[in-house]
Amino acid sequence: MEREVNAYKCRKCGTLHYPFRMVCKNCRANDYFEFDIEPLPKRGKLLTFTFIHNLPAQFEVARLGLGIVELENGIRVTGQVDIEDPTLGMDVVGNVEVVRHDTYDDRYGFVFRAA
């Protein structure tokens, strides 16, 4: 299933936000429904990463790659990293997939792989 991870663009000043917030952090415009939804680009650079070894039971893997990626439009996101031996600054491309199985729901988010 194709899902998107979205940024939120202020209708007053154009500032992009990810994740969602109710008030623009740049102009503090305070009208309701003042953001336009804008899908995030998929390509970016890996800023930092880790492999977590002690995971909650929902994650049925021995170690989980996680990272922060700066996308092409300058927005940064946290996501899972499915790369054997990543390096800082490498080019990556994200795909939106199931990242966590909760009791009632599958959660979708970015999984990054080498570009």
Binding site: Y18, T48, N54, L55, L66, I68, G109
Partner: protein
């Protein structure tokens, strides 16, 4: 504002405790009440992060005040993540400074060992951004690891520096009877010998087991009082000279400079400004070393060392008990333990012990002023406070 003093302190051993959370809080409180020589208070603040989820008990303050037979004093639970403890001290400070109350009990307590380590880690991870971080499996060790990697890249911090923080703090904890870890560790055992990485496996690369604080149960308590009450108590006059708090973005990835801990820096500036002092005036500090990198980074952000040089000061021994800027003589979270809601109160407990000159083998010589940094979230909610002995 009125001046506010700390006239009583109490603490439990930090370890796995087999009695109810409200009794952990009450035990620490009884120590503080006895130390202050009072049997009654006007107001009770209970710092705790997880009672409703981990211990299946909500409205913890009502249970604590009743267990202590302090009813009908007002009582409130303060939940502010890992900064709950110092946040409660700040509320207690304001209650006395405003003139509304004369004597306030501030107690922090947590009982985390009621669940297993993975559940405890997952519980603490619920403080991250629910949609942008938590769903991915981000944990606090994960945040610390990503931060550590950037710090290594930018400033030349190595695994050796991280291990040095762990060795220093666990060895300080050997001198603290209430500390969780009484296990002497060496650079050889956790870094240099062939079996080191068997002893010290990855938790979240590049941080290892001995870079992380233990999961602890425990409680710590303080009695805050007006000057009049403090003078009548006959206890050493230890004044809360400054308290600063600051916040930062919930999602760590949104910060413009990911190696900055802006909230630590601003909270410290606010505390110094209130106290009318600078970092150079501090004799002893307790910093929030839930992960070894945090002691290094916080020591810079509170102004003890230039940004990017904390690990060099550590190498020179400046942060040892007999160094120029002693940090975490109690053992810190790393050695003393980290019962989350108790931690911010326990840090100030140690500062008071040091300023009273009661720290025995871990006493910082001639300590007259102290600082505590209680770090909530991954740096998104931080309280820094300063103390001075006045008599």
């Amino acid at each position: 504002m009125r001046d506010v003093y700390i006239i009583g302190i109490g603490i439990t051993t930090f370890t796995r405790l087999e009695y109810p959370l409200s009794e952990i809080a009450a035990y620490a409180s009884m120590g503080a009440l006895k130390d202050a020589g009072v049997t009654d208070v006007d107001y009770v603040l209970v710092a705790n992060m997880g009672s409703a989820r981990i211990n299946n008990q909500s409205a913890l303050a009502s249970a604590v005040v009743d267990t202590l037979s302090l009813t009908p004093a007002g009582a409130v639970r303060i939940e502010n993540g890992p900064a709950s403890g110092a946040s409660a001290i700040k509320e207690g400070f304001m209650a006395v400074a405003s003139g509304m109350h004369d004597t306030v009990l501030v107690v922090g307590a947590e009982r985390m060992r009621e669940v297993n380590n993975l559940e405890a880690t997952d519980f603490v991870a619920t403080l991250t951004h629910p949609m942008a971080e938590y769903i991915y499996g981000v944990t606090l060790p994960g945040h610390a690891a990503m931060f550590t990697r950037l710090y290594m890249e930018k400033y030349g911090v190595t695994e050796r520096h991280l291990a040095m923080v762990g060795v220093k703090n666990q060895n300080n904890a050997m001198l603290n009877k209430d500390a969780h870890l009484h296990q002497k560790i060496t650079m050889d055992g956790i870094l240099d010998s062939p079996e080191a990485f068997t002893n010290n496996p990855w938790v979240a690369e590049p941080i290892r087991f001995f870079d992380c604080c233990p999961v602890s149960d425990g409680g710590a308590a303080l009695i805050l009082a007006s000057k009049e009450v403090a003078e009548a108590s006959g206890k050493p006059m230890i004044r809360i000279t400054g308290i600063g708090q600051a916040t930062d973005t919930l999602a760590v990835h949104e910060r413009p400079e990911p190696t900055d801990l802006m909230a630590v820096r601003i909270a410290a500036q606010r505390a110094y400004e209130m106290a009318g002092i600078t970092a150079a005036d501090i004799d002893v500090a307790e910093l929030h070393d839930a992960f070894t990198i945090l002691e290094i980074a916080e020591s810079e952000e509170v102004g003890f060392f230039e940004k990017g040089t904390g690990h060099l000061a550590l190498e020179r021994g400046e942060t040892a008990i007999d160094g120029k800027m002693p940090i975490n003589p109690s053992g810190g979270l790393k050695g003393k333990g980290h019962p989350v809601g108790a931690t911010g109160v326990a840090q100030v407990h140690e500062i008071v012990v040091q300023l009273r000159g009661d720290a025995g083998e871990r006493q910082v010589k001639d300590a007259r002023t102290g600082l505590a940094c209680n770090f909530g979230g991954f740096g998104n909610n931080v309280v820094v406070s300063t103390y001075a002995r006045e008599d």
